[in-house]
């Protein structure tokens, strides 16, 4: 299973959001780091075909995702950055509805809904309306809907934003478990989330891919005279060194 991105380019008017980006993803966890406006969400939206690309191609197992259409979307799980949600629905309804849109039905749907609600620790509040949830709980509902349907490609845009440390660890562990036979792309501002679970880290700056490497290799690539903020070099130092202004 491969997701290949070749010379991907996207413009918003005069602003170049992604410039000639090329990379190949294989099963594993890819953390995407970049400042606001670096192109992280644009990359996610291009992979989900929510934004029209201006150049390049995105191939899933050798076929362009635009040609695959619904076949690609059937293996896709997407958790967007904005907390767009039907506030009137209960958590169970929302996940169930998204499951239906992913083509799951009947007993299988009910089982999967129960499973992802359990994983995201929402079982106790499954019959409560999402509108009454806190930001962190809504975040978990969005994660649950992304997980339903056993996706092969999981795109998580800021999945741990608003979660308390315990939930973050729980979700992180879960994502790590999933990544055995899944391509997981996740963006986050919480660098430690990526450091602990990402197999590879992408550094994006102003639409350009600066570096792709393992967290350890990136940390090792810091110059010898770099003074780590916490005494020991970490991915936060990598962020500051490569992406800090």
């Amino acid at each position: 299973m491969k997701l290949e991105i070749k010379n991907l380019t996207k413009r918003y008017g005069d602003n170049l959001a992604l410039k000639d980006l090329s990379i190949t993803f294989e099963p594993g966890i890819y953390g995407i780091l970049g400042a606001n406006g670096a192109g992280k969400s644009t990359l996610m939206n291009l992979i989900t075909d929510n934004v029209k690309r201006d150049g390049g191609s995105i191939l899933f197992d050798g076929t362009d995702i635009l040609d695959l259409g619904d076949k690609f979307r059937a293996v896709l799980g997407f958790m967007p950055q904005q907390q767009g949600i039907y506030e009137q629905m209960t958590a169970e309804n929302f996940v169930s509805y998204m499951g239906r849109l992913k083509g799951i039905r009947g007993k299988a749907l009910r089982q999967q809904v129960g499973k992802v609600l359990e994983l995201t620790n929402l079982t106790d509040v499954r019959h409560k309306k999402v509108g009454s949830f806190s930001g962190g709980m809504k975040q978990r509902v969005l994660l649950a809907q992304a997980l339903i349907g056993d996706p092969k490609v999981l795109l998580l845009d800021e999945p741990t934003a608003g979660l308390d440390p315990r939930e973050r660890v729980r979700i992180r562990t879960f994502i790590k478990e999933l990544s055995q036979d899944m391509i997981v792309l996740l963006t986050t501002h919480i660098v430690t989330d990526i450091e602990s679970i990402a197999d590879q880290v992408l550094l994006l700056k102003k639409g350009e891919l600066l570096r792709v490497d393992t967290p350890h290799a990136l940390i090792a690539s810091l110059p010898a005279d770099w003074k780590p903020a916490l005494g020991i070099p970490s991915l936060e130092d990598v962020y500051m060194y490569f992406l800090g202004e």
């Binding site: 075909d49 929510n50 934004v51 997407f78 967007p80 169970e92 509805y97 083509g103 019959h127 509108g131």
Partner: protein, 787 residues
């Protein structure tokens, strides 16, 4: 001061309240015109704004008569009004049935001389037998008739009062009412006692119509309620936007804010009373006159015949407006208490909606005689329709004691008002934004659990339907459509007079297939006519009838269908040009309803911000699009059923068209060249099928427009503005809007009838709307599916 500015200067709120004032005034003017110009017989003249001058002329005529007759004995006024009725009626009799021997006038000159002082009627008479004359005549007739009725009421009022006293005495002797201590006995005594205070009141003749028409106008009360609700809803805004903790943390964010809001509520109620109550009153008085007669005793106005208050009309008006303002504050306090006592704003609105619906049902449908009738008057809507507390006299059985409905209402206002005041000023400011006990949420959790077992089995189509009905308030809107469409009119007639009454009578008798029985009827009619005193007129009419039958036979033979004698006017009035205005109005209303129902289908997704997620799912593009198109089509079909199936039933049953629907349409002059050989059944089926298609296309166009809007409110406004309003403007006479609205295509009646001339040009509006809706749908599909 900031809170005052926030509430009163919000452009959206201000716009809504002013729009409501304009709509209220427009609705009132329409009812004024309707009551002035509608007759009470077979046809509705369906007055429009262009008839305003006719209604005003009739009103001026009425005011002049009242001024001239003031001070005369009531019996003389009744006789004078009767003479006026005959004078006016004689004109229409002369114009429409000049040969009628029983007519009052026998020449144009004679009729003109009789109404020389009524220039509007004279001018209309000179123009001949058209709708203008009919409408003008109706206005004058109604004016004279209302004076006669008022004088008759006043003449009998002292007897009525005396009757109450004597009846109380007589009935108390009977076994039914005679049991001491029974409610019936006490009620009789109380009624007699109440009315004793106005015994001997000197009711006076004067101009009461302005007041009566205004009292008949109940819609203003609902606008008043709406305005109060809008203001109270603004008190919830900080909760909706998650600002409650922040507001509560400020120095003036608790008790002082509540006090300010109470002030806002009082001023709002005052303004709402001025806009939705006093303004229509002032317009009514300006139109009908009668300012100078407000010093008469209250009972001089027929509506107050059963009001035992010994005050003048002016004193009552002062009391009424004060009570209206107070009722507004009271209603506002009640709404405020309910809305703010429930932590979840959405849930509080739902609870309030259910409570209001229950109150309305009790007020509207509980019989006056019911043992529970205390709930009819100890009811929120008793304070909405404040004037009904004065125009109805009723004592409610309260543990065997008769208590007047006004007393109940005032006691309720004092007690519940004080409690609400305490609650809003003392208890609610102490409520904390978080950690309140929320019993209702627990109940809703249990309800959701039950519902989730059903909802988790929904298909995508099922979900889309559910979202539309439940989350986008489709069910509520559909109920509203159902109720409103039940109040629509289906007949309009630009009255075409029966120029030759005898000819029409023969044709009416012969209505049906032309066969041997037709010839037999004609032979018999000729024999009878020859022996009649009026032989020449009857034979002349019969000649015309025979010529017509002959033409119909020849035409049917050539066309290959059965000849019929059919009254074309009956069909014309329902489906032909005579009905054009009414059909356009109905179509415009149907378009507006459809547009509002279908507008949020896509806008709701954009408002919720779920579009990227939906489009990332395999069923979230084409599959979802198809389901939404289907839901839009069903919504269009629902409106069609509410508006047009009702019309069909009305035409067949109430308008008694059932027996003549088998007529081949070639027998109607207007449809002789219709491209298909159809019976009226088939013609009607075609018409309703085309209407269904056009309304479905309207729903799809609305769906497409809504998809361009970022939220539901914008979608409603956009669809109403682009689809609904041009149609209404066209229906109200602004012909130019027929080119930018589907109103003619949805109405279809005039197009299909026009095709009776054989011209294919009438197909164009249908094709144009089909093309526009299809293009809009294709663009939406492209945008949603392919991005």
């Amino acid at each position: 001061m900031n809170e005052w500015k926030r509430v009163f200067l919000s452009p959206r709120r201000l716009g809504l309240l002013l729009l409501a004032a304009v709509l209220c005034l427009a609705a009132f003017l329409v009812t004024v015109l309707d009551s002035a110009l509608d007759n009470k017989w077979d046809y509705y003249t369906n007055a429009s704004l262009e008839d305003f001058d006719k209604a005003l002329a009739a009103s001026t005529y009425r005011s002049a008569l009242i001024e001239a007759w003031k001070g005369k004995p009531l019996e003389e006024i009744i006789a004078l009004a009767q003479a006026e009725l005959q004078r006016v009626d004689g004109v229409q009799a002369w114009v429409y049935s000049p040969g009628w021997s029983g007519g009052m006038y026998h020449s144009d000159e004679e009729a003109a001389a009789a109404i020389a002082d009524l220039p509007a009627l004279l001018e209309a008479m000179r123009r001949g037998a058209d709708r203008d004359l009919y409408v003008t005549y109706t206005g004058f007739y109604n004016a004279a008739e209302s004076i006669r009725e008022e004088a008759a009421y006043l003449a009998g009022y002292s007897d009525y009062l005396a009757g109450i006293q004597s009846e109380a005495e007589t009935r108390s002797q009977t076994s039914l009412f005679g049991k001491p201590g029974s409610f019936a006995r006490r009620n009789l005594a109380k009624t007699a006692e109440d009315f004793e205070t106005i015994l001997g009141v000197q009711v006076a003749f004067g101009n009461s119509l302005g007041l009566e028409r205004w009292l008949d106008f109940g819609l203003g009360d609902y606008f008043h309620l709406l305005a109060i609700a809008v203001i109270v809803m603004s008190f919830l805004e900080e909760r909706r936007h998650g600002l409650w903790p922040a507001v509560r943390a400020t120095r003036g964010g608790r008790g002082r804010l509540a006090l300010t809001r109470l002030g806002i509520l009082c001023v709002s109620s005052l303004l709402a009373t001025a806009l939705y109550s006093f303004l229509p009153f002032a317009v009514s008085m300006w139109f009908h006159g009668g300012w100078q007669d407000l010093s008469r005793p209250l009972q001089s106005v027929e509506h107050f015949g059963t009001c035992p208050l010994k005050i003048s009309i002016a004193q009552w008006l002062l009391q009424f407006f004060a009570v209206k303002v107070l009722s507004g504050v009271f209603i506002g306090l009640l709404l405020w208490c309910v809305l703010c006592s429930i932590t979840n704003p959405q849930f509080s609105v739902a609870v309030l909606g259910i409570a209001l619906a229950a109150e309305y049902a009790l007020y509207e449908f509980l019989p006056v005689q019911s043992i529970l009738n205390v709930f009819k008057y100890f009811n929120l809507f008793a304070y909405v329709h404040t004037s009904a507390l004065y125009t109805n006299y009723l004592n409610v059985d309260l543990f065997g004691f008769p208590v007047g409905i006004r007393t109940i209402a005032w006691c309720g206002l004092a007690v519940i008002g004080s409690l609400c005041l305490f609650w809003t000023l003392y208890v609610l400011p102490k409520r904390r934004p978080e950690g309140n006990r929320d019993h209702l949420s627990r109940i809703s959790g249990a309800v959701n659990k039950g519902l989730d077992t059903v909802r988790s089995r929904f298909s995508i189509g099922g979900w889309e339907g559910y979202k539309s009905l439940a989350y986008q308030y489709g069910l509520l809107l559909m109920a509203l459509v159902f109720v409103l469409s039940g109040r629509m009119s289906y007949l309009d007639s630009d009255i075409t007079p029966q120029v030759d009454a005898m000819y029409e009578a023969y044709m009416g008798d012969m209505e049906g297939p032309i066969d041997e029985s037709t010839d037999a009827y004609l032979d018999r009619a000729r024999d009878l006519a020859t022996e009649s005193d009026n032989a020449s007129s009857l034979l002349q009419a019969l000649d015309k009838v025979e010529a017509r039958v002959s033409v119909l036979r020849e035409r049917a033979a050539a066309g290959g269908y059965q000849p019929w004698v059919a009254n074309e006017y009956d069909f014309d009035i329902v489906y032909g040009p005579q009905s054009q205005n009414q059909q356009r109005l109905n179509a415009a209303i149907a378009i507006l309803m459809t547009a509002i129902l279908a507008a949020p289908l896509y806008a709701f997704e954009r408002q919720a911000g779920v579009v990227p997620m939906l489009r990332s799912a395999p069923g979230g593009r084409l599959h979802l699009f198809r389901r939404k198109v289907l839901i839009a089509a069903l919504l269009g079909a629902f409106v069609w059923a509410c508006v047009y199936i009702r019309e069909y039933v009305y035409v067949l049953v109430d308008y008694k068209m059932l027996p003549v629907m088998a007529v081949p349409i070639g027998n109607l002059d207007s449809l002789t060249h219709f491209p298909l050989h159809l019976t009226m059944w088939q013609y009607a089926a075609l018409l309703y099928a085309v209407r269904l298609l056009m309304l479905v296309l309207t729903a799809e166009a609305s769906l497409a427009l809504g998809a361009l809007c970022s939220n539901v409110r914008t979608a409603y406004l956009t669809c109403a503005a682009l689809l609904g309003i041009p149609g209404l403007l066209c229906a109200f006479g602004a012909e130019i809007f027929q080119w930018v609205s589907p109103v003619v295509s949805v109405s279809s009646a005039e197009l299909l009838w026009g095709m009776g001339s054989g011209s294919p040009v009438y197909l164009l509006p249908w094709l144009a709307w089909l093309a526009v809706a299809a293009a809009a749908l294709l663009l939406t599909r492209k945008k949603w599916v392919h991005g």
